[in-house]
Symmetry: C2
Subunit: 428 residues, 2 copies
């Protein structure tokens, strides 16, 4: 039996004539974290694979099809996906319906979207953002996509092609911004030249560009594909550090305010397993590869910890995230009190004189923010006033810095997850 | 090379002539979770082991001795223990001093103990409780021990012998309570007959007996050996469920109040690695075996998750626990508002008519609490009044119950960790 594994792509020969469960066990793979695919069908843990089969094990999901075992909770047809935390399995049609219902429930439960809203979906080319765009379009919302070119070699090129093809296939409008073309740097360069980690500057750039494009394009709301796994991992990271201000801003919807478009996360009730199965079953071509720069990303370590706990206690992630939203969020509301003003360089909201993006950009490009140069930057915007102080986070502005300390790296990563400058303050 | 592993005891033959680090890697063991011992010396990850060596890998620690590598942070002698979260290593003498200083810092920082206090140390026979008793005696405190016999076969017998030997060797006073003799049931029976998990009823019994013995024996304070790993795991478990009332009661010191003796945890700043190394270096004979009933214990899964995160980010546990105490605890203070009254059966404080221990005991012994029997129980105490309602947690009182649901098991385990009836309310 041939088994095709992803990230990195490779093939192994294994003994067939046994259950998927046993194959995954031999490979040390948690069934909840992969899709098992034979030709165009999904396999559950209980399905048997033959000696002559070729199967693909694709992160992220568990699945299965046909056979005499699991049945769809709704229609009793053979199930193709098992959702352990719901103690349920679904056939293809019912899984698609289940996912759409969870999204509707999220949207209605939090007043996320109005039918008249112009929505900008942040599209990476991955399963979550394309599934989200697909669902919003199917539900009849006015949803455009925004693709941000990060300049990460072949990975970014493939992501771009896939996002473009999705839009063309549905006659949908895709806004395109390119970090190098429009802002003068790409993510690999930023990771090498700036004081922030690659992931931190990438996240910062995404949030900045999404908000700016939404505001300048007349959109009412930004929709992102953050799922239950993302949100639980972020909450875990912020809670392990008791970053009470970041915890306070963790919400499926952040209302518009002072220069910030409204932000919504309609997939927050769905696991990666469910969004990946949905994308597969809807025939959505998405980028399976992980970003090549992501190795060691802190967020992935938190996901790993949550998956570990979930594997023995299905429902841990949902209990953690929903329990926070239901019971603990009110306790943290007082921690979110940042005052926002316009960045002196770009006008976007910030807690300091210059927003985090402009500071990072200036550092990467070797410019000095706030120098009395009186000039204009590469976007024709006037550069700020002279000053040599420190901003609200104690960072020196503009000037070249040494290697960041551990503490700064931690702050940087927190910032990556939830900067006040992107999400704004939440009124509860 | 012969390697002796514990829990369960076994020996394996491995290739020698390499570093401890490589041996542990082959065994898939996290160096932070074991002591590596050759005869009477500890080995660090960087020490070499020879083909003819016999080494013991003992949970829980990393260590090392001699050689030309790590040096003690204080005296520059060869180090025997590495504390990665402090980015430090210590020789034997300085490790002992370091541990005592951390305990002194905990005691002084939280006003845990006064020199005139009569202290009752909850002694299990394990490394933490014996290390704690040793430290308190060395620091000149008036500390007696309390050993509770749980009736878990040879494991309890060995624990008893070791606690007894420790007390005799130091001319210290050991109070002894036996669950079967004094309360009519042992832990294995309770696990089979009651509606609570074995671990839950064991934890409940310990807390009940410790408090009652302290109150009746005229002690001012109960000291327990909870260490940093215990406290971080408990906080993680309570936070994953956002049990805001349990989170609110997590503190290194819980003041005396309404039927509760003061409770202190002087080891809360020290990892298991540090307490195990301390116990070993002080020549304290302790029970290395884990409780045979502990398999699948939820708390161990949280420890596992924390160890996993700690292994790539040393300091995660300390940051999580201390960050909570410093920044988040005040946000939860309002969640801790239970009203306590005396249990109608035993007089110990409770939030309901009967305390959790009396309810569990009655269930295990097949008695009915609150029936109009007017009799007295096995301790000569009058049994409570009739009533057929539900208590504050919605549980039916006394009557036999079916298998507990998952939800009840979860509640039971939360209860195990931090029942209001043991810890009382905290005034901040």
């Amino acid at each position: 039996m041939k088994v095709r594994l992803r990230n990195p792509d490779r093939e192994v020969e294994l003994a067939g004539g046994r259950k998927v469960h046993d194959v995954l066990g031999e490979l040390g793979i948690n069934p909840d974290t992969v899709l098992v695919i034979r030709e165009r069908e999904l396999l559950t843990r209980e399905d048997r694979v033959g000696e002559a089969d070729v199967i693909e094990i694709r992160p992220v999901i568990s699945g299965g099809s046909g056979g005499n075992r699991m049945r769809c909770r709704r229609c009793k047809d053979p199930a193709v996906v098992e959702i352990r935390r719901h103690n349920a399995a679904f056939c293809a049609d019912c899984l698609v319906r289940h996912v759409r219902e969870q999204v509707k429930r999220a949207i209605e439960g939090h007043d996320m979207l109005d039918p008249s809203d112009r929505i900008l979906v942040a599209v990476s080319g991955g399963k979550d953002s394309l599934a989200l765009w697909d669902i919003l379009l199917e539900l009849g919302y006015r949803a455009d996509g925004l693709y941000l070119g990060l300049g990460i070699g072949e990975y970014s090129e493939r992501s771009h092609r896939i996002a473009r093809a999705f839009a063309d296939g549905r006659d949908a409008h895709l806004v395109e911004v390119d970090l190098a073309r429009d802002y003068g740097f790409d993510v690999p360069t930023a990771g090498r030249k700036g004081s922030r980690s690659t992931c931190a500057v990438c996240g910062l750039s995404k949030r900045y560009v999404f908000n700016r494009a939404a505001r300048e394009g007349g959109y009412d709301v930004i929709a992102t594909g953050h799922n239950l796994d993302d949100e639980a991992a972020t909450l875990l990271g912020n809670t392990l550090r008791w970053q009470t201000d970041y915890i306070a801003r963790q919400s499926p919807v952040l209302p518009a305010e002072e220069g910030f478009a409204r932000k919504v996360k309609p997939l927050y009730r769905l696991s990666e397993l469910e969004t990946a199965a949905f994308a597969f079953l809807r025939g959505i071509d998405y980028v399976v590869e992980e970003c090549p720069l992501v190795a060691g990303n802190t967020q992935l370590r938190y996901k790993d910890a949550m998956n570990h706990l979930e594997s023995t206690s299905p429902g841990t992630k949902a209990q953690f995230l929903f329990g926070y939203l239901d019971r603990a969020a009110p306790l943290f509301a007082s921690q979110d009190e940042a005052e926002l003003v316009g960045c002196e360089r770009c006008g976007q909201p910030t807690t300091g004189r210059f927003c985090a993006f402009c500071r990072a950009q200036a550092q990467i490009l070797g410019e000095r923010l706030g120098e009395p140069q009186g000039g204009r930057d590469e976007r024709g915007e006037r550069l700020g006033e002279p000053q040599g102080g420190r901003d609200e986070r104690g960072e020196r502005l503009g000037a070249a810095r040494d290697e960041p300390s551990d503490r700064e790296t931690v702050e940087s990563l927190s910032d990556e997850v939830m900067p006040v400058e992107m999400y704004g303050t939440v009124r509860r």
